[in-house]
């Protein structure tokens, strides 16, 4: 359990909780004395909720730590990202929509460039384009091994994910990237006796891969890292007593949601309105809805300040759809900051809005923005505390102790 003291306090009721995550929501002004993306966006609906409810700012993992998407979402889901580790291979696999079940072995793969002696000359195959790497992916997908099945998908550019499925596989395996050029890729080594067969299988995979890729100009070699299996995270139903649904467009967020026991809701389209409509259709079947908006982060990574502003405004415009469902608790926040100014995830505190009309304490803030949130009544707290706050405001927790 993320919090051992929590399960005995859980009390089921009919309340509905919505966690609306605008990925990479937090931002920075482009100029001194300027406004952030969120502060720039015209958001009458979010501002109304901010005025009625409580604001705060959340720290995704720890102060100063810039999270990847996996740890950032684990935090928002209430699981300390330092304590609960999703293996790199699993994260890449779920990120491209490959299911990883207990006992499946996932690895992150990189294409590299080898010289005639098999030594690495470029560890990322010249940062080959996604299109140029596609034929190499197809070659890898043709590999067959005795007694196991393989699923391979491209991630982006030189990166791919591979999942091996079969009996008695074990992820206690070493990475094959020597981390420097001028050396050949390392063989996979078993760290335990139980993993020896799995090591042999992956080495057979590597041998076939290098044979099949020999003709490729850039991507003629591969390395594998982050061997891991389904992490066995506690599930939302056990941790929080919540039947939880995920509404997301991108595979990564669906994948992480599945790892904590959420059902992924299928739907057409990819606009905020489409996502809210999907939540509306499933409204009766779940207690908790995680709704993920990706494009705030994508725009931030592109350095597109105005584009990020536009995505925030589109979410705001669609928000009445969501409010019509009358959630008991609505949290609007990000998993981390992605300031367009930095073109990258960052460690900055993330704006956090709690709206729960039966129980929230309205604070003095009247707009939803970074500086308003820093002055908000909820204070500054670790993202992993958020689920407890959600449960409390949903009146789903009884008193601790007499």
């Amino acid at each position: 359990m993320p919090y051992d003291y929590l399960p005995p306090l859980l009390m089921p009721n009919k309340s509905k909780i919505v966690l609306l995550v605008l990925d990479g929501l937090g931002g920075l002004p482009l100029v001194p004395d300027g406004k952030t993306e969120l502060e720039t966006a015209r958001t009458p609906n979010l501002d109304r909720l901010a005025a009625e409810g409580s604001l705060g700012q959340s720290i995704p993992v720890r102060m100063g730590i810039t999270p990847g998407s996996g740890p950032a979402h684990l935090g928002l889901f209430g699981y300390d990202p330092i304590r609960y580790d999703i293996g790199r291979g699993v994260l890449e696999a779920v990120g491209v929509g490959i299911d990883v079940d207990k006992g499946d072995i996932a690895a992150r793969g990189n294409f590299c460039t080898l010289d005639a002696d098999g030594r690495i000359t470029d560890r990322r195959a010249g940062r080959i384009s996604t299109e140029a790497a596609a034929p190499a992916i197809a070659r890898l997908q043709s590999i067959r091994l005795e007694g196991v099945t393989l699923e391979i998908k491209q991630v982006k550019e030189y990166r791919f994910a591979v999942v091996m499925r079969g009996e008695s596989l074990d992820p206690a395996l070493t990475d094959t990237d020597p981390q420097v050029v001028g050396k050949a890729p390392l063989p996979v080594e078993a760290e335990t006796e139980a993993a020896e067969r799995t090591a042999t299988l992956f080495n057979a995979f590597l041998d076939q891969a290098h044979e099949l890729l020999a003709g490729e100009p850039q991507a003629n070699g591969i390395t594998l890292r982050g061997f891991s299996t389904e992490p066995g995270l506690p599930k939302y139903l056990d941790s929080y007593g919540l039947r939880a649904a995920c509404v997301a467009v991108y595979p990564m967020y669906k994948g992480v949601s599945k790892l904590v026991g959420m059902d992924v809701i299928g739907f057409q389209g990819e606009s905020p309105a489409d996502e809210f409509a999907a939540a509306a259709r499933a409204w009766g079947d779940y207690d908790f809805f995680f709704i993920h908006i990706k494009k705030t982060d994508s725009m931030g990574e592109d350095g597109n300040f105005d584009g990020k502003v536009g995505v925030i405004e589109a979410v705001d415009a669609a928000l009445p759809e969501l409010m019509r469902l009358a959630p008991d608790v609505l949290i609007v926040t990000g998993d981390h900051s992605t300031p367009a100014k930095l073109r990258y995830h960052s460690w900055h505190p993330v704006p956090y809005l709690l709206w729960a009309p039966a129980t929230h304490l309205q604070d003095a803030q009247t707009i939803f923005g970074e500086r308003a949130c820093a002055q908000g009544g909820l204070g500054t707290f670790l993202a992993q505390e958020s689920m407890k706050l959600a449960l409390a405001h949903a009146l789903r927790l009884i008193k601790y102790g007499a």
Copy 2:
């Protein structure tokens, strides 16, 4: 020790610290844009202290967690309520003024209603009134067991506390409440060999109880739970170097104070002025005074917003009595929130006022209220941090490290 690094830093001096706890102080407005109980109360004296000192808000146990009185006070006393567990039986016993020493076994008792076959038909004896249960309590008090003594007191309605005293008793015992109607109460079972004699004694108690209660219309059975002994909490003198006094009207708070080594000051009356006068009389004998005001919480639990306002105003009116003693450090806070709107303890952050004229950093806040505290200079912090702040402002802690 609650904080292992603290004892080496302790430096005695003649300073006086007062922790004034208004139970359930934190509140909520009854209407949007309204004021809380504390914000509504006319509190010129508290407002003056707020203007001179620093405000903040404390989280009783963890974010979102609603504490009972025991854990909430442990937190204010600097003991992490998740780490330090007072057994349910001990808490009930000290709550009604029964002393529990090391080796005494306390349990919480419930009256229940049994059918002719001894099966429970109502686990709370129809929520029998306190008055109607009094004769059944008297019957239990007549029970005698070989080699041990018993002390039994009514708590309220169907609840009572029982403490068994004697040689070699052990609290590793199972609860007897089957948790459902239609089953007979369970026998006490020993969880360890060392507890077997204690189990036998409690089963003999149960047998006698059921014989004696056979004629009662509602309360003809009992269940026992939460077997526990004095928890051996570190004492204030060892943890903080403080000779500590408790000034409280209700047994529960006296009991928890004793568990951390406070002396309980006897006095007549129960008004805030009576409590402050009691502190004045003991002023020379102690370094630390915990003064507990109960009725803010009682009014909150009754849903009596105006009544809670009135209690806060009465404390404010009496405050000059306390200030005349010229404490070096005065903290005014609650153990948790009890908003009249919710009629129950809640998880909301608690207003916190620190006044220590020699050392406090006056912040920008000028009144004592929830929203002012949320903007206060001390920020938002766990209640268990408060005792360190008190010691620091009393100049009772030397530098940590060179």
